[in-house]
């Protein structure tokens, strides 16, 4: 239980624009337009050009997309993580409370974007692939459905998840020197769906099984997908520090210094800090 205190510190209330939803709405608008465009493309060319891998049209309309994805996605991931690393905060022990609070806000927006992208990949396009398999014959590696599901939507949410984690590690004292297990599961578990795709494709080309949703070969997708529930643990770690910072920034109450949080992040995750 936190100790009551009458000590106050000077208050420097940040501008409301520091906690703007704008970037989130822009990101969600871009995602929505992009996914709608992808859907239109799929509905236009999946059956018309995507049923026979050995036709020139297939190479033009689908394999070209796959090759583009395979180039753009790793490039984007490397570029994003490199940029976040190069622009990292090198003096986190001196971080101002208002700025730390703003970064938590940004992290929250980043995670919301990640979850929306995770929904598109692991829910929408995965269910769509189930429908594809009920319509078209046995599974192969590079169906139009897989080119969008496995090789586009999954890497995109992985980029967002890993990016958000690198953001936290390079800008927030709580994550800079210690490893958050729930956050690692939140990002790493859905990430492991992608290697599971490899196992899935190997299985489908070796065991010639029926494309049954509940086949053991598919269990990994479900297990790793449920790992996203680690978002609850992630918020449990983050909320006490955020509340502590709010109390410091807006009410002038003392808070754990960033230098202490850097070296002992568990202190910042104490639920007692949530007492108001």
């Amino acid at each position: 239980m936190a100790q009551a205190t009458t000590q106050t510190v000077s208050i420097s209330i940040p501008d409301r624009s520091a906690f703007s939803w704008k970037n989130l709405w822009i990101a969600l608008a871009i995602i929505t337009v992009f996914e709608l465009a992808v859907n239109v493309y799929e509905r236009t060319f999946a059956i018309a050009k995507g049923l026979d891998y050995f036709t020139p049209e297939y190479q033009t309309y689908w394999m070209s997309i796959l090759y583009t994805e395979l180039i753009l996605e790793p490039t984007t991931l490397i570029a994003l993580c490199s940029w976040l690393w190069v622009t990292r905060d090198r003096a986190m022990e001196n971080l101002a409370p208002a700025e730390e609070l703003r970064r938590y806000w940004n992290l929250g927006l980043f995670v919301v974007v990640y979850t929306v992208l995770l929904y598109w990949g692991a829910s929408y396009y995965t269910e769509q692939d189930g429908t594809w398999h009920q319509t078209v014959i046995r599974d192969t590696d590079f169906t139009p459905s897989h080119i969008i599901e496995f090789y586009q939507s999954y890497p995109i949410y992985i980029i967002a998840g890993v990016g958000s984690m690198v953001y936290a590690m390079t800008r927030l004292p709580q994550y800079a020197k210690a490893f958050s297990v729930p956050y690692a599961v939140l990002v790493g578990s859905p990430l492991m769906i992608f290697p599971n795709v490899g196992l899935n494709e190997f299985g489908h080309t070796r065991w010639f099984m029926e494309e049954l949703f509940v086949a053991p070969l598919h269990w990994g997708f479900v297990m790793f997908g449920w790992g996203a529930l680690a978002i609850l643990g992630t918020w449990l770690q983050i909320c006490p520090r955020v509340v502590e910072l709010i109390k410091q920034v807006y009410y002038g109450k003392p808070a754990t210094s960033p230098a202490v949080v850097l070296n002992d992040p568990e202190k910042a995750a104490d639920p007692a800090l949530c007492e108001i």
Binding site: W25, I26, T44, F45, D52, V136, T140, R206
Partner: protein, 429 residues
């Protein structure tokens, strides 16, 4: 740098997105104009297609025009043989379902007969080595150009598809209905039967779930963490919370029970979902004309030629010839047999000529070793080359015929193939 005006940017985004979406949706109905390809069976391994289920005698009633109108009925008939030796990599359960493949619900399946036995909803149990005759009656539903054909799906093993044709469905499906007469004598339209009820229940149950989430998620999360930390767990739930929980619990139970009772009152006569499987005996064996055994097989890679030797004994009373080899929906005809020419209405792929040496008929009681050789680009086009697969074996059906037209189908199910790469290929010591 000019600062982005958020509202202007959003408006532009929405406009561009809407224009893109509208364009796409306008193009989508035209997508059937592009359909000029098959169902991609070629991407499956050769042994999977050659050594499992072989379709033969396939006929579509819509040939040669390959055009029907929305609402027209058409048939697909033929036979399948489950190869007597099944590849070990592929599970065999025998529990199968005869179906008609088409990308999406573009046709309706009105009836299916297997060995003249009608079934519509149930799977059938098939045997290795068995031959089964099927008839599928379908109705055109959605305009477009669709690859269609017969298919057998087997539990654990998956789908096996037969020869395909491109069917052009003309007209409009506006006003298309699918009336069926129930056992009680009512006529219902399966195109929209129960739709309103399904939507109503989905919305109602979703609304309950959303209300439940809103009630709990609207409570201050972090403050409640503080209450937990302070050991004041009794403050987490108010009497109001308990009443809400009680209402939701009892309300949901009452809703489900009432709905079940109302539905039961509305539909007093129901039958459970049927789980019966039909055990269908294979067709009786054809009269034996020959006994045969394949002794060896090679695939000449640079020459694209499959050759094998087969020792054939004529056990009938008339001369016998080898007319045809059929594998993975590709047919090779023996041109030395009079009248044995390719018909454009055949739905299978024309593999080309099959050279049989010696070409003379096998007389009654005579035993001959035939060399069968098929040089064809289709081995590569259809990806039926076995030399780079994990099981270097091939299968297919040989069709022997005597002078009276009696036919015997002989299955090659599990013959190893030795590839010949030619002297100039590869390295070596």
């Amino acid at each position: 740098m000019k600062k982005l005006n958020f509202e202007t940017g959003m408006k532009k985004l929405v406009r561009v997105g809407a224009a893109f979406l509208l364009t796409g949706l306008m193009i989508t109905p035209l997508s059937s104009l592009f359909a000029v390809q098959g169902m991609g069976a070629k991407s499956q391994e050769a042994f999977l297609r050659m050594r499992t289920v072989t379709f033969f005698d396939t006929r579509f009633s819509f040939t040669p025009s390959n055009r029907v109108k929305v609402g027209d009925e058409f048939t697909c008939t033929g036979k399948v043989m489950l190869m007597p030796t099944w590849p070990q990599e592929i599970p065999f359960s025998g529990i199968s379902f005869f179906n008609f493949f088409v990308p999406g619900p573009q046709v309706l399946r009105k009836a299916i007969f297997v060995n003249e036995k009608y079934f519509q909803f149930n799977s059938v149990v098939l045997e290795k080595g068995g031959v089964y005759e099927y008839k599928m009656i379908n109705q055109a539903r959605t305009p477009g150009i669709w690859p269609v054909g017969p298919m057998v799906s087997m539990e654990e093993a998956g789908p096996f598809i037969g020869p395909e044709e491109y069917l052009t469905i003309e007209g409009s499906n506006a006003g298309f209905t699918n009336p069926v007469k129930t056992l009680l004598g009512n006529t219902i339209d399966l195109e929209n039967y129960g739709e309103a009820r399904m939507i109503m229940w989905t919305l109602l149950t979703s609304a309950i779930a959303v209300a439940w989430l809103i009630y709990w998620c609207s409570k201050p999360f972090t403050r409640r963490l503080g209450l937990v930390a302070a050991g004041r767990k009794e403050d987490l739930f108010s009497p109001m919370d308990r009443q809400v929980c009680f209402l939701f619990t009892i309300g949901t139970i009452v809703l489900v029970a009432a709905a079940a009772m109302i539905t039961k009152a509305q539909y007093p006569i129901t039958i459970p979902i049927q789980e019966t499987k039909y055990y269908i005996k294979p067709l009786p064996p054809e009269p034996a004309l020959i006994q045969a055994e394949v002794t060896d097989a090679t695939y000449d890679v640079p020459g694209r030629t499959l050759s094998f030797h087969i020792q054939v004994k004529n056990v009938g009373d008339k001369p016998v010839v080898l007319k045809e080899f059929l594998t993975a929906n590709v047919r090779f005809l023996n041109p030395d047999v009079p009248g044995n020419t390719w018909n454009e209405n055949y739905p299978e792929v024309n593999g080309g000529p099959m050279k049989v040496t010696p070409s003379e008929p096998i007389n009654p009681g005579e035993t001959k070793t035939l060399e069968v050789s098929m040089q064809s680009a289709e081995w590569e086009n259809q990806r039926l080359t076995m030399y780079h697969e994990s099981t270097n074996r091939f299968g297919g059906l040989l069709f022997f015929s005597d002078t009276s037209g009696t036919r015997q189908v002989f299955a090659i199910a599990d013959q190893i193939v030795i590839p010949k790469f030619g002297g100039a290929i590869g390295g070596g010591m």
